[in-house]
Symmetry: C2
Subunit: 347 residues, 2 copies
DNA sequence: AAAGCGAACCCAAACGATTGGGCAAACAAC
DNA sequence: GTTGTTTGCCCAATCGTTTGGGTTCGCTTT
């Protein structure tokens, strides 16, 4: 908020220099250089005067000019499937916060989980000359990441991981395991999974972690009981309907790898005359703020979404500094609520 | 995606000009000027060659250099309370789409509905030299808008309106009226409103529209029956609890000015042993994708969120072109569902 | 044959910052 | 009194565009 009045041209280094009778390079060094070079550029008395005038005139450096010279924009591009997905939106909050704290700005674009659009949006961001990218929508079989990598574009992944590139994600495998342990302990033996999109590591890992632990515990999970789906309420409803239509008895518990899918499933179950938390257990994933507040509070695996966003920025900054960037796997935590609490555990 | 390989410096106008034996100004005019001046700059044969080489070398103009020269960044700043609010996130999708279609990029920041943070974030965006701002979080008593206005900063409002400045919003007054009509027709006479934040025009207009119509119909709405609240599930739950604790009989219908508040209220009502849609009606606002998919589908006033975002960009572009910018008031539509359908209307 | 004119280009000054090198004066060392 | 070093600056090139203004040529026109 330190611009000039009424769209009057902003004050420049030259303005300050002229007013002080100094050369603009001196002013530049005082205001923008590291301490050691700044001290060499001017006496402390001069430096003081420079800083005061800059403050008074509301000087703020022109980022375009700076970028042109330094070849860095201090901007990072963020691509997500859609910001109206609260999970990604929350991660983005972490991104924005940390980026701002490091004097970076962020462009966000929605790819709608479409590979062409991903590519297009990445292109737009690169044309904008962002310093690096955070991809929140990588597909398991993505070509884009390899292409970016071979072109030397700095990027990191968020939310979904990819074996070959640095990423900041929840430990989704562990998340799936937590749910398996919980449902098994509650006495369930016939379960189904609403598994999410086949191209998302979140879906694969949560489902995979669940299955592996479930089978280790002695359970069985036939393929028909794993229904791949969209990540939204609609997708959850459809998947639940499919589960109930399947031959054989209806399962006593459903694990949906996403809260919204879980909510959709709850709707379908209720429509079928089942009472969630009594006739059938439902567990979701991400523990979005809704889960605890639903009419029937939803058990869910809490993932540290904001922190995932923060770490993603940290990772990218490391990459930009040519430091090593180690993938972050953040610990999830199971929140047991009425939707899956049959009174066996706890209380 | 048309950058050089391996972080090699991008192709510039000079590169193209040298390779073609032309002056870079000629190349610039061919590639970036309006048709008439482009035609004056080179023969059509030359122009053709220029365009082909640009394509081949993957030329993409440096936006920083362009901005430095033209004093326009083709970037717009968007400030919202929080993107993890699905309503604002959806509006942002409209913003991004339309901005991109007009070759603008968007920076988004979360203000958390805090006035200091609003001011800070606006400052960051202006320091970035955005061409204009879209404010999605304006408070009824905001000083910021007046300050921006007097400083000549181009901006428009989105989601919430302010009498003095151009905005793109839902016609929230009409939305409130629709709910009043509906509940009255359903035979309700004792109602309460979960009214939202007192500083948001959305809350004020929806509540105001409801009250005015309700009283016009012959109903009464005592002040104790209007509970101001936060816009989230938590806020809705608290407000519903307060409504039930109030002296006198519990209302037979509740209008929550926000779907999330409505969901929180539904939780509280159920906890109190009431069945929503049978013992008590609940109507929400915005018709977020959740509403229809809830275990008890929620009646809600549909607001064209995406379109609000699109129009906001349109408005801002008008302002930037010094055209007149007329506030957009978009028509809402009531979606009646199980949560408020006692079988009086319809079927 | 001189003058006029359009076509097809080229020239160079910005825009606002960064940064490797100067360079003069003051002071110290020998 | 020469040499060397530090202090406190200034100079000027550079980043990639845009754009108001030439200049040169060939062709009419009179």
């Amino acid at each position: 908020m330190n611009q000039g009045q009424r769209n009057q041209p902003a004050v420049t280094l030259k303005d300050l220099a002229d007013e002080l009778g100094l050369h603009l390079s001196t002013v530049s060094r005082v205001l923008h250089s590291r301490d050691d070079v700044a001290r060499r550029a001017a006496s402390s008395a001069t430096a003081q005067k420079v800083r005061e005038l800059a403050q008074l005139r509301g000087y703020s450096p022109d980022p375009q000019a700076t970028s042109l010279r330094t070849r860095r924009t201090r901007a990072i591009g963020v691509i997500v499937p859609r910001l109206s997905d609260i999970v990604l939106a929350t991660m983005y909050e972490g991104v924005e916060e940390t980026a701002a704290a490091n004097n970076y700005s962020t462009f966000v674009m929605n790819s709608h989980d479409d590979q062409d659009e991903q590519r297009r949006k990445a292109g737009i961001m690169l044309a904008r000359r962002v310093d690096g990218l955070i991809l929140g929508d990588v597909h398991a079989d993505s070509d884009l990441v390899h292409e970016l990598s071979s072109r030397g574009v700095p990027f990191v992944l968020m939310n979904r991981r990819h074996p070959q590139y640095p990423s900041s994600t929840c430990d989704d495998v562990v998340g799936g395991e937590l749910v398996a342990d919980h449902l098994w302990a509650q006495g369930h033996r016939r379960v189904a999974v609403i598994a999410g999109e086949t191209y998302a590591s979140t879906a694969l890992d949560r489902t995979g972690g669940f299955r592996k632990r479930w089978e280790a515990l002695g359970g069985t999970l036939p393929d028909e009981s794993v229904v791949w789906s969209h990540f939204d309420t609609e997708g959850g409803r459809e998947a639940a309907e499919q589960i109930m239509l399947a031959p054989g008895p209806v399962p006593t518990a459903i694990f949906a790898v996403n809260d919204f899918a879980a909510i959709g499933a709850m709707g379908a179950l209720r429509a079928a005359g089942l009472t969630v938390g009594k006739d059938i257990a439902v567990v979701g994933f991400n523990d979005t703020s809704l889960a605890a507040q639903l009419p029937i509070p939803l058990s869910s695996v809490r993932s540290p979404m904001m922190e995932i966003g923060r770490r993603a920025v940290g990772l990218l900054l490391n990459v930009l500094d040519h430091h090593s960037a180690e993938s972050q796997l953040l610990e999830p935590q199971l929140m047991v609520r009425e939707s899956s609490d049959f009174g066996v555990e706890g209380s």
